[in-house]
Assembly symmetry: C2
Homo-oligomer: 302 residues x 2
């Protein structure tokens, strides 16, 4: 297990990738092949776990300021921009950790979080996007999908929950849906947290030795594990068929949680930097209001 | 201005109040009189701003663990408990800061945040509780209302937005609504952040000297300021008429932001401690699953 050593070698030789560089590095391109991605790698990051945790803490301040500006611009109507972060990945890949440690660092007022579960009977009676549309973020917000409409071409495809004739057209429907969101000013960041099957088993095993984690364990998890290859195939299809310009996929190696968190934070910083929200200008006469306030304060003996 | 000194004297003489003691201290009782509350006081806290910030950081870990247990119990169906935090207060009283610095410390997945704005035409066409009901938290969640159904007996009453014959019965309707929530397992914590009129003016003035805060300023704010006395009267009525056992009001002196944040965090810790959510027991044979996992890991050469 050279697990904690391999990246420390040469840690100080080259700086880590900028958010822009990292996005290029992790972005799913035309010839993308999921089976060739090393889930234990840390592309674009020079350093080990401790460095990663420091980088995450530093990035949090930057992300938080960008988010506040986005919120202010949306609030005042000076910008139409908003962000949608879609998080996908096999069980235990760390989706919840991204929400907690990356998204959790910004003001909750500016975040709209949705965890999509198995659809209800009512949801199943509608088109698969029916339950998704009301959850897309409004101006100024960061929408977070913990699982998403992609489940309808992942678990649904792996287990034939609907016939192929029904799931096959969904790739196209998703592309149209996301193009529509992008046209309305939504910067879409789709992240697949990529772990190895062995890493999944190790994480499941850990839950069995911590009574405070039993509730996260289900015997169905191991049954699902048996479908690993089919899931990778379904991911490969989703990643390559739904990676249009306005809604790119990023595959983030996630065997190392600290790396995945840093990487997703960088991807959010990248997309917000591109949106470049600015503090709204005053819509009132600042000087006149200052005078008015001074008078009121004086009247109160202040 | 002895503002930063007064509480430092004797800071180490007595320990701060426990969450339980603080709740008793701030709770609105039968003979409550808002006009007698000192908005610059720091009841139950021994120490100054720096101590308050340390206490907040320490409390965050405790709150976070309680929240996670609540979430786990709700998720697994082992408990019906949930929390509703209602935050009210005059403009600039720090409602957003509570969301950011107190609520923001827990896992966003377990929080359902709603900022109630001026009602839409559709919302006005329904009963005042119509838009509130869908936002009450489900099991395991902490619901946060930034403003709430109380606006319908505050701004509405102050400005006669509906006739008295319409707002008068709302106190009773609110009591029934909240009793219903309490009966379903909702621990309700209603907080009024209490500032002085001078403090409001100072906070508004600050916004006029920071271009990154212009967006938070509206000329209407000063117009509203003129109704201070009427608002205090409306608060007095809401606080005393809607403070039933299952849905108490707490008036939190809020001229010092650090104190208000520490106090609201303590009130949440108090209510969660009373709910006492426990980690759900395993619903499967732990030993059998460990064996199954060990075999799968061995098969992968791990």
């Amino acid at each position: 297990m050279a697990k904690n050593k391999r990246k420390d070698v040469g840690a100080h030789e080259s700086p880590s990738a900028t958010p822009r560089q990292l996005a290029e590095l992790l972005r799913v391109g035309k010839k993308f092949d999921l089976s060739r991605v090393d889930s234990s790698a840390t592309p674009g990051f020079s350093g080990g776990r401790a460095d990663g945790e420091v980088a995450l803490a530093l990035g949090a301040a930057q992300l938080s300021e960008l988010q506040e500006r986005l919120f202010a611009a949306g609030f005042s109507g000076s910008s139409n921009g908003r962000v949608l972060l879609v998080i996908q990945g096999m069980d235990t890949s760390g989706k919840g950790g991204i929400v907690r440690h990356v998204v959790g660092a910004v003001d909750p007022q500016g975040v709209q979080h949705t965890a999509f579960k198995a659809p209800t009977a009512e949801e199943l009676a509608h088109d698969f996007l029916w339950r998704v549309r009301p959850r897309v973020p409004g101006p100024g917000l960061i929408g977070v999908f913990d699982r998403s409409h992609y489940e309808d071409v992942l678990i649904v495809r792996v287990h034939d929950l609907v016939p192929q004739a029904e799931w096959e057209p969904r790739y196209q429907a998703i592309n149209e849906f996301e193009a529509e969101l992008a046209a309305q000013g939504t910067a879409i960041v789709k992240v697949m947290l990529h772990i190895s099957p062995a890493e999944q088993l190790r994480r499941l095993e850990k839950r069995l030795y911590r009574p405070d984690k039993y509730w996260k364990y289900s015997v169905a998890d191991l049954d699902e594990h048996a479908y690993w290859a089919q899931y990778q195939e379904a991911y490969q299809a989703a990643l390559t068929r739904c990676s249009a310009g306005g809604a790119p996929w990023y595959v983030v190696p996630a065997d190392r949680k600290w790396y995945a968190r840093w990487a997703v934070q960088s991807l959010l910083i990248d997309v917000l930097t591109k949106l470049d929200p600015v503090w709204p200008a005053a819509t009132f006469d600042v000087e006149a209001e200052r005078v008015r306030l001074k008078a009121l304060l004086a009247a109160q003996g202040q």
